[in-house]
Symmetry: C2
Subunit: 516 residues, 2 copies
């Protein structure tokens, strides 16, 4: 395709803005399939969706993103209110909750584009316009129940995408982490910055993180070594029990509350049969300041860098944040992440405090992995870009008039029955042209009309792509009166070779590693 070419006529470049793309064809079909899989799970758990404007008042977004505020797109001042394109879906949700004070509880999902004036890295899914897919539960409930359901939902989603056994939910708790820092002797004013250093352990070795703590951030090396003993630990119930048995830790109020929460959460995760997907990981810290409780990140094979690459220093991107997806020494990074944030809504509405817990799915990363996976699976059914089930054709010998009114009539009958059908928009199409058009889109069935057959009240139905020697290779003659019934019967019987079938059970590891 001749993309991004200059235009002789008008003298400007024919392209989309930097960091944006048109979605079309196969990519669009794969993306839609991912969105509908995810949405189906949200709805299964009673979620509703909310659609907020693509731009917000500038002052709604200001003061929410720290240094990253410089990445916000502003609208031009053309008179009237000053507005900015949304940077994420969390702040608009908190703004909506604050505005709608009668809503005291909600499970909402929102799949929409957000905007960041970042240095794009298109092939790795780092864009200026990209999709976020957020699910959040707001409201006061008994402890850890909504948190547990979010993790159950996360597992159902990756199950529906065919990632069974290929993903891990790393989990930690801000209060456990803060307790550890206090117990180890980190000064209160250094807790957040030391927490940021710990968050880098998924891509940097401990030695380097320790150096950042001591050399850059002035932490006592002895304190750093104490932290080191805690944060390398990961595991499941046995680790939780070990921490609960740690008297020094349990004596700290913050750590105790975090560990009690975690113990309750583990009970619930066991009831939901998802504990096997969970890894309690003391090195998980999460960047954003607003988390107040449990935090989690979903990783897949390929999320982490290979061990030899771990020694290399990740390079900084223009915005000062490490660009994990773009750095050859790191993996694709997490494919979903979130946590509990009980204080964000009150930034908009001082009176009102609505506790929230949520997760954001990195649908562009999930898309990239899925696309690679489908490409790697040579045996998978081809992806059709449209959904037509029947191509209505005509053929005839000398004096053939194209049977256009008859083709239109048959198409009309199929449409009336809700069947997806096309026919050639030519008065007298040749039969090979009609087959070629049907094959180009992978249409599974042809209805073939001929003068003699129509005179006898019949037509031929042919399943496309049957192997040589198959009894129905040349098609089957059916009564026109039974047309709709015969077509529906055959479509149902052939339904499971679609994309939805081919999304499951493929090699996600291989795809993820190709990306990393």
């Amino acid at each position: 395709m001749g993309k991004e070419k200059g235009d002789a006529k008008s003298g400007f470049q024919l392209k989309v803005p930097k960091g944006t793309k048109d979605w079309e064809g196969r990519d669009m079909v794969i993306r839609d399939k991912i969105f509908s899989s995810i949405t189906e799970v949200f709805k299964r758990h009673g979620a509703v969706t909310i659609d907020t404007p693509v731009f917000e008042l500038k002052e709604i977004l200001s003061g929410k993103y720290g240094e990253d505020s410089k990445l916000i797109y502003d609208l031009a001042d053309q008179g009237g209110e000053l507005c900015s394109l949304r940077y994420d879906l969390t702040v608009p949700f908190a703004r909506w909750l604050a505005m709608n004070s009668s809503v005291q509880s909600i499970k909402r999902y929102h799949i929409a584009k957000v905007y960041r004036r970042d240095q794009p890295a298109m092939t790795k899914g780092r864009m200026r316009e990209f999709y976020q897919c957020d699910f959040d539960i707001a409201g006061v409930y008994d402890p850890m129940l909504p948190d547990a359901e979010i993790l159950r939902i996360t597992c159902e989603i990756f199950h529906s995408l065919g990632w069974d056994g290929k993903f891990t939910i790393k989990i930690n708790h801000r209060k456990i982490l803060d307790g550890i820092f206090e117990v180890c002797g980190v000064p209160t004013d250094k807790i957040r910055t030391i927490s940021s250093a710990v968050d880098k352990l998924d891509k940097s070795p401990w030695e380097e993180v320790r150096r950042e703590m001591t050399d850059e951030k002035g932490l006592d090396p002895a304190v750093a070594d104490l932290i080191g003993e805690y944060v390398v630990q990961k595991g499941s119930k046995e680790l939780l029990e070990k921490l609960l048995a740690n008297e020094k830790l349990i004596a700290n109020a913050s750590a105790k509350q975090g560990l009690d929460d975690m113990a309750l959460l583990f009970t619930y995760l066991e009831s939901f049969s998802v504990l096997q997907n969970i890894s309690l990981d003391m090195s998980l810290a999460r960047g954003l300041d607003y988390y107040t409780g449990v935090i989690y990140e979903v990783v897949t094979e390929g999320s982490a860098p290979s061990s030899t690459d771990k020694q290399k220093k990740p390079k900084k991107s223009a915005d000062g944040e490490e660009d994990r997806s773009n750095d050859p020494t790191v993996g694709v990074g997490s494919v979903a992440a979130g946590g509990r944030y009980d204080n964000l809504v009150s930034m908009f509405s001082g009176k009102q405090q609505i506790p929230c817990v949520g997760i954001s799915f990195g649908v562009d990363r999930i898309f990239s992995i899925t696309k690679q996976r489908l490409a790697a699976a040579a045996s998978a059914a081809p992806i059709r870009t449209n959904e037509v089930d029947v191509f209505v054709m005509a053929f005839g010998g000398k004096g053939f008039d194209g049977l256009l009114p008859q083709r239109m009539d048959i198409a009309k009958r199929l449409w009336d029955a809700g069947i997806k059908a096309e026919f050639s928009w030519k008065v007298k199409p040749k039969l090979p042209q009609q087959f070629k058009a049907a094959e180009a889109n992978g249409v599974p069935f042809a209805i073939i009309l001929g003068d003699e057959e129509l005179a006898a009240g019949k037509c031929k139905i042919k399943e496309m792509g049957l192997p040589e020697g198959h009894a129905e290779k040349e098609g089957v003659m059916i009564e026109l009166a039974d047309l709709v019934e015969e077509v529906k019967k055959r479509i149902e019987a052939s339904a499971d070779t679609s994309l939805s079938a081919s999304l499951s059970g493929l090699n996600v590891e291989q795809a993820a590693q190709q990306l990393s």
Copy 2:
């Protein structure tokens, strides 16, 4: 709800930008249902979707909208490319076709938000951020076949929305109209401006349009009277035959070509069984300059003003274009409109000429009418904002522990079977609270757990809202082993009382007239 209130804490107004809104609750459900009805029809005809960025390079949009260009939202100049929010979906589609020169034919639909810095009139669906729903066919085909299929698709869409017999497609042809103007003696340089005057006949009487032609636009009154004889005509096949028999008209090359096109189109519309929805209307002219062939507008009862109001002069809105939806003297206006535009793509790509024909559905107007219609239909099923089918409850006497693990286990089994289910996020919920939560969302079934029943391997299933005296009013005891099967059976049996059923067969006239 406490909307648009000031925020004591941060000192700024908590609101969405002027002319935008949050979509939520019932409105969101109705809107989604409309979108999915429309999308289903597009897919039935083999359409694919394309998603373009929400902003385009500024120069892509410039020079496309004439005077209305002042309504375009620009992004602030923060360095790099200058961009603007899209104003419609047609120009991005033409830009995409010009960029992807390998695509010589496509049927594409696109449902997305567009942006216009207009004076908003929120309750009538006139917004600064609003949805458009476009369907276009690009490519070279035998004459009038794609045009006919677009009109068939339009009828299927209003059929699927339950508007049968409640809408009319007004149709005309630019070449017929131009031929009429030439035959009547309109000077070539006045044809477009006289055409614009004719376009006002749906809301102004002929006398006023004639006055505009003669007094404002300097047309010879005798010529205006000749035009008047043509443009008041509307009808069906008999009008077409009358025009085809008009020797003066047929002697004009443009009129002849338009009438031949129209005759062929009518044949096709008859094959598609949609001719009864079509009104050949010589007063339909359409505002946009880029149409080159057949043009059409879909009106519903309420689209036109009442005859007494027709005398009043419509007031101009800020953009100089009549605001039909906001003017009390006019109806809701058209709910869909479009036509053939064979030259637009070449504005981007001089080399390449791709003929196109399309239609744009006014989904905000369709939404407003549908919402009124549902409100007017007191007998209609209530609209549920979530889709949960089962609420899992527990009850017990003294020493009742809430049966939380059991409720979680049952919910898990239902989710595993793809069934939409919820339970209370309380450790020990009271039974009335659980019923209240289920009723608030209109959940159709309750599964009720009790210690004794569980010990016997049983639970109770209760259909909510059964009338007093119904045999199953108090619920039915079932085996836990048959849980999923029993639930699925009952959900299927109760499935047709949903919104999709209530969207059909209601009083669209009444709703449309309330809006006008």
